[in-house]
C-alpha cells in the first residue's frame, strides 16, 4: 500500500485546481459532475429508463385504442387531444423518480459524503435536476415519435409544437425541484414513492390530460382546472391545436415560475436542514 503514502511526515492536501473564491464557476462545474453521475446511474438502472419511456407509451396505446373510442372531445380528433396530455403525464410520472432517487442517495449515505466534500452545496440538487432535464428531453422526444406513429398530427405548425414542448420541459424542470424537496423530506425511497405516486396521480388524472374537465362533477372540476398540470396541458393544447394561446401560456408560465421559486428555496432549505 505504499502508493497511498506521501513522502515526509506532514500530509499536505492536494491544492485546489481553481481559486476558492470563484464560487459560480465551481458551482457550475460541480453541477455538471453531479448531473453526469446521475445520468450514468440512470443508464445503468434500466428499470428507471423503462419506467420513464415504456410506461407513457402504454398510456398512449391505452387511451388511443382502448378508451379513446368512447371519449368525445369538442373540435378535434382524440389523438390530437391526447398527446399534449401524455407529454405532461410522462414528465409528471418521471418526477416520481427524482424523489425516489434522491431519497435513495440520502439513505445510502452518498449525500452525507457530498456534505463533507469541499463542493458547492446547491450542486448536489442542481445536478440532479439538470440530469432530470436531460432525461425529460429524451422522454419527450420518444413520446413525439410514438405520437406520430399512432396518428398524432400538428394542426398549428412546428412553432406551436416546439413552443408546447418547451413548456413541457420547463414545467418538468420545476417539478423536479418540487420532488427534490419531497425526496429530501422523507429520506427513504419507499416513503418517497408512497408520497409521490398519489400526488402525481391526483394532479394528472384530475386535470384535462386525458378527458375534458367538463365531464367531471363541479367540485372536482374546480380543483382539476386550477392546478399546475392542467395549466400545462391547457397551454400545450392551445399552442398545438391553434386558437388564442396567450392567456393559457401566461398562466402556465406563472405556475412554472412560482413552482421554481418555492421549491428551489424549499429544496435548498431541506438540504441545509439535513445537518441539523
Amino acid at each position: 500500500m505504499t502508493t497511498v503514502a506521501t513522502t515526509g511526515s506532514t500530509v499536505v492536501p492536494l491544492a485546489p485546481d481553481r481559486p476558492a473564491g470563484d464560487r459560480v464557476t465551481a458551482a457550475v462545474s460541480d453541477t455538471v459532475d453531479v448531473a453526469w453521475r446521475n445520468l450514468r446511474t440512470l443508464l445503468r438502472t434500466p428499470q428507471a429508463l423503462i419506467f420513464a419511456t415504456i410506461q407513457p407509451m402504454i398510456f398512449v396505446l391505452l387511451f388511443r385504442y382502448a378508451f379513446g373510442g368512447a371519449i368525445r372531445v369538442p373540435g378535434t380528433s382524440y389523438v390530437d387531444y391526447l398527446m399534449p396530455g401524455v407529454f405532461a403525464q410522462a414528465v409528471a410520472f418521471g418526477a416520481i423518480g427524482t424523489a425516489v432517487g434522491l431519497a435513495g442517495d440520502l439513505r445510502s449515505g452518498l449525500l452525507v459524503r457530498f456534505r463533507t466534500l469541499p463542493m458547492s452545496r446547491i450542486a448536489v440538487l442542481a445536478g440532479r435536476t439538470l440530469a432530470d432535464l436531460v432525461r425529460n428531453l429524451l422522454v419527450v422526444a420518444v413520446m413525439i415519435g410514438v405520437g406520430f406513429a399512432v396518428g398524432f398530427r400538428v394542426a398549428n405548425g412546428a412553432a406551436g409544437l416546439f413552443g408546447a414542448l418547451a413548456l413541457v420541459v420547463a414545467f418538468a424542470y420545476a417539478a423536479s425541484w418540487a420532488f427534490v424537496a419531497l425526496g429530501l423530506r422523507v429520506s427513504d425511497p419507499e416513503a418517497a414513492q408512497a408520497a409521490a405516486v398519489p400526488l402525481v396521480f391526483l394532479l394528472v388524472f384530475t386535470s384535462a390530460a386525458f378527458v375534458p374537465s367538463q365531464s367531471m362533477p363541479g367540485w372536482l372540476q374546480a380543483f382539476g382546472t386550477h392546478q399546475p398540470v392542467n395549466a400545462l396541458v391547457s397551454a400545450e393544447r392551445a399552442l398545438i391545436l391553434g386558437g388564442p394561446a396567450a392567456h393559457d401560456v401566461l398562466i402556465c408560465l406563472a405556475w412554472i415560475a412560482g413552482l421554481l421559486l418555492v421549491f428551489v428555496l424549499l429544496a435548498a432549505r431541506g438540504y441545509a436542514r439535513m445537518g441539523r
Partner: protein, 312 residues
C-alpha cells in the same frame, strides 16, 4: 495550528428527546490514531458527523486543524476525509468513476483526479476491478473503495466510522494495514469501532464513550489492565452446572456472568489466570464441556462499567 489535530470541547447534540452527545470532550494529537469506542447509540457516528461538518452541534465547540467545524466548515472540508458505515460509494458507477467523481468534487483537477484514482485503486488492490460497477463488489472491496474515496484529495485528517464492521478477517487486516500506512505518513486518524481488539491494533489512544460522554480514556494497554486481562467462556452441559460453577468461582473472588449453560469469567491478570480459574473448578463442580480464553472485548468492558465489578 495547535499540536492537536482535533479538539472537541463540550459537544452537545440532541435528536428530539434523545441526547446523542452530552458534553463530549477529547483531543487527538496530530499524526496519531485515536480509537473512539462505544456501543451502538453511544454517539460515535454523531461525533464523526459533526467533526466532518455533515451535522451541526447544538452546543460546544470542535476544531479540526484549528478550524471551527461550524464557522469554518468550508475550509474544514478541504482537510478531511470521511469513510465508514454512513458514507457511501455509488453502486452504479465503477470504482474508477467513483473516485474520479469524488476527486472532481473535492476540487482536485480532472487530470490529477484520474492519476490519483489510479494510484489509490492500485494501493487498495482494486486495479483488476477498477472498471467494474461498484454494485458487483464484495463488502470488503466496497469498503476499501470507500476509504480510497476519502483519501482522494490527500486529507491530513481522516475519519473512519466503523470501517471494518461486517468485514471478513482478511479484509479487516487489509484495512488495518492501510490505516497503519496512513498513520506512518503523518495522517491523523479518528477511528470509531465496536471492537477493542481493533483499537488495540491501531490506536495510540482510546476514548470510550457511553451515552454521549467520555466513560474512560487511555492507551489500549491501560484500558485492558483496568478491565482485566482475560475472559473465560465456559460451556456446561446444563444451566444448573453453570450455576454451581458460578458459586464456586464467586467464592474465590471471580466476577462471573451466566447466560443459560454458559458462564463468562473475568480474570484480572493474564499470568496464572488459567490455572486459577481451573483450580476454582475443583472436583465438586462438573467439568465444563468447553473452555475458551480470550481478550476482553468492548462488551466485557461495558458490562464491567455498568455492573461495577459486582459478582453476577
Amino acid at each position: 495550528m495547535s499540536e492537536n489535530a482535533i479538539e472537541v470541547d463540550g459537544l452537545r447534540k440532541t435528536f428530539g428527546r434523545f441526547t446523542a452527545l452530552d458534553g463530549l470532550s477529547f483531543a487527538v494529537a496530530a499524526g496519531s490514531v485515536l480509537g473512539l469506542l462505544g456501543p451502538n447509540g453511544s454517539g460515535k457516528t454523531t461525533t464523526v458527523s459533526i467533526l466532518s461538518t455533515a451535522l451541526r452541534p447544538d452546543g460546544g465547540q470542535a476544531t479540526v486543524h484549528g478550524l471551527d467545524v461550524v464557522a469554518d466548515a468550508a475550509r474544514v472540508r478541504q482537510v478531511i476525509g470521511l469513510a465508514g458505515q454512513f458514507a457511501a460509494v455509488d453502486p452504479n458507477l465503477s470504482g474508477r468513476e467513483n473516485l474520479t467523481l469524488i476527486g472532481r468534487l473535492s476540487r482536485v483537477g480532472r487530470k490529477q483526479a484520474r492519476v490519483r484514482a489510479g494510484e489509490l485503486l492500485d494501493g487498495f488492490g482494486l486495479s483488476a476491478a477498477a472498471d467494474r460497477l461498484a454494485r458487483t463488489y464484495s463488502g470488503g472491496m466496497r469498503r476499501r473503495l470507500d476509504v480510497a474515496a476519502a483519501l482522494l484529495h490527500r486529507p491530513p485528517v481522516l475519519f473512519l466510522d466503523e470501517p471494518t464492521t461486517g468485514l471478513d478477517p482478511e479484509s479487516r487486516f487489509a484495512l488495518w494495514d492501510a490505516v497503519r500506512d496512513l498513520s506512518r505518513t503523518g495522517t491523523t486518524v479518528l477511528l470509531t469501532t465496536q471492537y477493542l481488539e481493533e483499537a488495540d491494533a491501531l490506536a495510540e489512544r482510546v476514548v470510550i464513550i457511553a451515552a454521549g460522554r467520555v466513560a474512560d480514556t487511555g492507551t489500549p494497554a491501560q484500558l485492558k489492565a483496568r478491565f482485566g486481562a482475560a475472559v473465560f467462556d465456559l460451556g456446561f452441559g446444563a444451566p444448573g452446572d453453570a450455576e454451581t460453577a458460578a458459586l464456586a468461582l464467586a467464592a474465590r473472588g471471580y466476577v462471573t456472568e451466566r447466560t443459560g449453560a454458559t458462564l463468562r469469567v473475568r480474570a484480572d491478570s493474564g499470568s496464572g489466570a488459567v490455572t486459577g480459574v481451573l483450580r476454582a473448578l475443583d472436583h465438586q463442580v462438573p467439568d465444563p464441556m468447553s473452555v475458551a480464553v480470550r481478550e476482553p472485548t468492548l462488551d466485557d468492558v461495558f458490562l464491567s462499567l455498568t455492573q461495577g465489578g459486582k459478582p453476577a
